[in-house]
């Protein structure tokens, strides 16, 4: 099966549980299982090749410019982790079917679980480190969902938040580190990057990159001092704890260290940081674990300890240590997942996980007892179980490790860690299962149904099998994995066997077992001492840090964002000018090679009118109506300027937009105060003038410089000018760009315009549905209403003008492709013509004669434009490629038809609809109580028969 499919299957499959839950819990879990199992089989198909030392790859360029490719590869390490993730995933899915109660939403659970599984598989198969980072973050997010699955439990929510904060923070650090690494190596593909050990380690950025990457790995794998989140994440349902927090997610950090081992390891920094973090975590986790009364709490600290052990082995950087680390990853996953599941069974059956309330369960739950006993003994490192073998390898490696000049510290601490490990393992075994049967369990326990103990039993069998026949069962896998961890063409050979002869490790092991049992015998006094000694509580510290950070953030936010929007705007403008000044003053000086054009008198008059108009608007802006009228004049001057400067299309558009904008503002002004009160102090005005003047001068200087400088590179306009006629079939290049060359942009534009109109419609609806409607109805206008609302002359004139205006619109539309004009302008012209009917004859009268809702007009415009675009597919061309031809129907002259005209029709309709919907919405606010709907277009109409009662 392709690696793509293996990585994608869980994600695709994540949709299934949500659907299948409708068909019942069994169907739901079966389908989830089938997904996982298919992916597992797909992976294992590659196993023989990978074990022979081959590397399977699959790659697609995604965003090559960013170095981000969807490339996957499968080597020994990926195979090991993939098998763990998918294999244990299948077992967990089976277990969860029986674990979850009927009240728990199972569809959600399996969806989250598959999302998580997909993210994990993605991490271990990724070849591209950017892709790996994406999956890495996905595991943090999906595990957040899983830890907080029981949303009603506060500890679940808090644990999920803490896990997300810690691992998310580590994820950010990891992104930084990985980007540095990719930058040093010049590639983001792991397969290439892992070859560049010397280059990377010689780079000055090696140490920062290492620190950031380790921060990511340590937070994920709960290494000291980030170990505290893992026990809090135990609020999750037990299948999640077993899956994420023992077998898979917490091992992602280890995976990352192992993956980057070929290029990152072997330096003093690596040795000291990784070894010490692992050593401390191993000893500390084991010590805290002894005194946990919650079964899952004990297992969580034990997990922390074992993760520390593996980390420490990777820190040692020797071949034997790497083999030990790889082997222990397998062993830990088997016995710990099994233990978590049995702890879940105990919780499920006895309704408590508190060790002090348990004991004597071996008589009541014999099957579960056997499974748990096997796994516990393996965890303690008792032969012949698999935990013993890897623990021996760890002790052996530790016995040969010097910390600086010190040769006894590492072996002694390793033995101590093993001793604690024996103590908590036996505490779990003896305090839960042995002793007399009690009669005060919260619930009378008995063995669970077959389906529930099958998964842990399977793992327990593996524990025994790997212990007894280690070389035969996993020898090849360990070799292949260790080879890909070591990299650089190494061929490590693990000699996995139970009996290694009398070695230092055996002595240390013996001391650990005896010492652990003694410690357990002295559990009561030891526990008394432990609880008497004050210890820092990680949750308190964490909460204090998070609290301090969030109050600092709140302070900054409230100080900067005090709600004074004018202040934000002022800061923004000043900042922009300062930054621009900095950039400008750092430049190389400006030369203005282009020859300026001398202006004759007409442009100077226009300029003068524009400046005066702008000054008047600003000076009299408090008089809103006056300001609006002058604004309209300025718009007209700008339109004329466009025309003068060879932009007839812009002139037409500007002119017609100006009309609708002014009408719109006038309509709105109807509801707003007539005057703006004087509020600004003189100092404030002066300040604003300085800011505005500064920006104005800067922009003017920029524009002047741009206009008198040559293009830095040839303009793509040459292409448009050269091909407009031949490819687009039109002579008006601006229009051809709009409907053809850049048709996709225009398509977006009309969609946005339609959305804007719909927003306005929505806001109007909202207003009319709220209590504002009442005050609108009772509104008293600023001025008395004119006596003649619908002047006769205006009604007649607009009525006459309508067909002419529409004719003009059609003309502008049709000529648009070859002469100035086109859909935008035509749409605006027709909209204005329609608008005039509303203004002259009254809203009701006009609305009654309006057959097509404007929403539909917008929609039909967008759809017609889209269909025209799609039509290009039938021509075997990309979206929106236009076609044209020349036709002749006598007696007409030969004329041209282009498909772009269909697109332009869409533009036309969208513009008409959007403008009309906007203005119509505003008009609807104008109703007042007592308004009679306008039945007639004119108040006075001599031709109308006077009604009889008028006499």
């Amino acid at each position: 099966m392709s690696l793509f499919l293996i990585a994608a299957l869980p994600f695709i499959g994540a949709l299934l549980p949500g659907l299948m839950i409708q068909a019942g819990r069994n169907t739901c879990s079966t389908w989830t299982g089938i997904i996982s199992l298919s992916a597992l089989i797909g992976l294992l198909v590659h196993a023989p090749a990978v074990l022979r030392g081959e590397v399977i790859t699959a790659s697609v360029d995604w965003m090559p410019a960013l170095g981000l490719n969807a490339s996957f590869y499968l080597d020994g390490l990926g195979l090991l982790f993939g098998t763990l993730i998918l294999g244990i995933g299948c077992l967990i899915i089976l277990y969860a079917r029986f674990y979850l109660s009927s009240k728990d939403p199972m569809g959600n659970f399996y969806t989250y679980l598959l999302l998580f599984q997909g993210a994990m598989v993605g991490i271990v198969l990724s070849d591209n480190i950017l892709l790996l980072l994406v999956f890495w973050e996905l595991t943090s997010l999906s595990s957040f969902l899983l830890i907080g699955y029981w949303k009603h439990l506060p500890e679940g929510r808090q644990g999920a938040r803490m896990a997300l904060t810690v691992t998310g923070m580590g994820g950010l650090a990891l992104i930084g580190g990985m980007l540095m690494l990719g930058n040093i190596a010049g590639t983001y593909e792991l397969t290439e990057l892992l070859e560049k050990r010397d280059l990377i380690q010689a780079d000055p950025l090696y140490v920062p990159a290492l620190l950031l990457i380790l921060l990511g790995a340590f937070t994920k794998s709960a290494q000291f001092p980030f170990h505290f989140w893992l026990p809090r994440a135990m609020a999750a349902p037990t299948p999640v704890s077993a899956y994420l927090h023992s077998a898979t997610m917490v091992k992602a950090g280890l995976f990352l260290m192992a993956r980057l081992y070929p290029v990152m390891s072997g330096t003093a920094e690596w040795f000291w940081i990784v070894t010490l973090a692992g050593l401390i975590t191993m000893v500390l986790g084991a010590l805290i674990g002894i005194f946990q009364n919650d079964l899952k709490g004990l297992l969580a600290y034990s997990t922390v300890s074992h993760l520390g052990l593996i980390t420490m082995l990777l820190g040692f950087s020797t071949e034997a240590a790497v083999i030990g680390a790889v082997f222990h990853i397998i062993n830990h996953a088997t016995f710990k997942a099994s233990l978590f599941m049995t702890a879940g069974i105990v919780d499920h059956e006895a309704h408590t996980r508190d060790i002090t309330r348990l004991g004597g369960l071996r008589h009541l739950m014999p099957i579960t007892f056997i499974i748990s006993a096997v796994a516990s003994l393996s965890m303690a490192g008792i032969p012949p179980f698999n935990g013993f073998l890897s623990k021996e390898m760890m002790l052996e490696a530790a016995a040969h490790t010097y910390l600086g000049d010190n040769h006894w510290l590492v072996p002694a601490l390793a033995t101590l860690g093993a001793l604690f490990s024996v103590a908590y393992s036996f505490r779990l075994l003896i305090h839960t299962w042995f002793g007399p049967v009690r009669d005060d369990y919260p619930h009378k326990p008995h063995d669970p149904p077959f389906g529930m103990w099958l998964s842990p039993a399977f793992l327990a069998i593996l524990v025994v099998m790997i212990g007894l026949f280690s070389q035969a069962v996993v020898g090849g896998l360990v070799d292949a994995t260790a080879a890909s961890v070591m990299g650089n063409g190494a061929h490590p050979h693990a000699h996995l066997k139970l009996w290694h002869g009398v070695t230092p490790a055996l002595y240390m092991s013996g001391i650990a077992v005896l010492g652990g049992l003694v410690l357990l015998a002295l559990y009561r006094p030891a526990s008394g001492i432990w609880h008497a000694v004050p210890r820092p509580d990680a949750k308190v510290i964490f909460d204090a840090i998070v609290g301090a950070v969030s109050s600092a953030a709140a302070w900054i936010t409230e100080t900067l964002h005090d709600g004074k929007l004018t202040r934000y705007a002022a800061i923004f403008f000043v900042f922009t000018v300062v930054v621009s000044w900095h950039a400008f003053s750092g430049g190389q000086g400006v030369s203005l090679p282009r020859e300026p054009m001398q202006a004759d008198i007409i442009p100077i008059i226009g300029w003068f009118a524009l400046i005066v108009g702008t000054g008047v608007t600003v000076f009299y802006h408090r008089h809103r109506l006056l300001a609006l009228v002058v604004l309209g004049i300025i718009g007209v001057i700008i339109s004329l300027s466009f025309n003068y400067l060879s932009a007839p299309d812009l002139a037409l558009t500007q002119l017609s937009v100006e009309v609708v904008t002014i009408v719109l503002l006038l309509l709105a002004l109807n509801f707003l105060p007539e005057f703006t009160p004087r509020e600004s102090s003189t100092a404030r005005k002066a300040r604003d003038l300085i800011i505005a003047g500064g920006v104005g001068v800067a922009v003017a200087a920029l524009a002047y410089t741009v206009m008198l400088t040559d293009f830095a590179m040839p303009s793509i306009a040459e292409y448009h000018l050269a091909n407009s006629h031949d490819l687009g079939g039109g002579d008006n290049v601006v229009n051809v760009i709009l409907v053809d060359f850049r048709g996709f942009d225009t398509f977006g534009e009309i969609t946005v315009l339609g959305i804007a109109a719909l927003i306005i419609y929505g806001v109007t609806e909202g207003l009319l549905g709220s209590k504002v409607r009442q005050s609108l109805l009772e509104r008293v206008p600023n001025h008395p209403v004119a006596g003649d609302e619908h002047p006769l002359m205006m009604v007649v004139a607009t009525r006459l003008l309508l067909p002419i205006a529409i004719m003009v619109g059609v003309y502008i539309f049709l000529r648009g492709h070859n002469d100035p004009g086109g859909g935008f302008v035509a749409g605006l012209v027709v909209a204005i013509a329609l608008l005039m009917q509303y203004m002259a004859s009254g809203y009701d009268w006009a609305d009654k004669r309006q057959r097509y809702p404007y929403h539909a007009t917008i929609a039909s415009g967008v759809i017609i434009a889209a269909i025209t675009g799609i039509g290009a597919f039938f021509n075997n061309m990309p979206f929106l490629t236009s076609d044209y031809g020349y036709f002749q129907f006598p007696p007409l002259q030969k004329f041209e038809l282009a498909t772009a005209m269909g697109f332009d029709l869409g533009v036309f309709l969208a513009v008409v609809g959007a403008v009309m919907l906007t203005l119509e919405s505003l008009s609807r606010l104008a109703y007042r109580r007592g308004d009679v709907p306008d039945e007639y277009p004119m108040d006075i109409n001599p031709s109308r028969q006077p009604k009889s009662e008028d006499h």
């Binding site: 300026p596 702008t614 707003l672 206009m707 000018l721």
Partner: protein
Amino acid sequence: MTIEFLVASAIGVLTAAGIYLILRFRTFPVILGTSFLSYAVNIYLFSTGRLIVGAPPVLQGYGDYTYTDPLPQALVLTAIVIGFGMTAVVLMIALAAYLSGGHDKIDMQDDASEDRA
């Protein structure tokens, strides 16, 4: 007086007027200000195609004609129309705020206590 100077100074004056109005305390002047700023930005974008008189980008058949750069024109054309949409939406929001909030001030008021009351 060169055309370039006229256009550049007009852009500057329109920008300054727009910014001055945007810094006022009420919604209506701010909307006028954004209109001024739209004018300025549109002319600026248009001017990046360099100014030329009497050479509209409408092809004249075969022959050696000069045409101005059509691309900024196409961009500005849609910008003008979208500018209308933007003005309309902002205006509508301002109007709704005025009608439902009872005032047209831009700055948020320190009326948390009023809200609570």
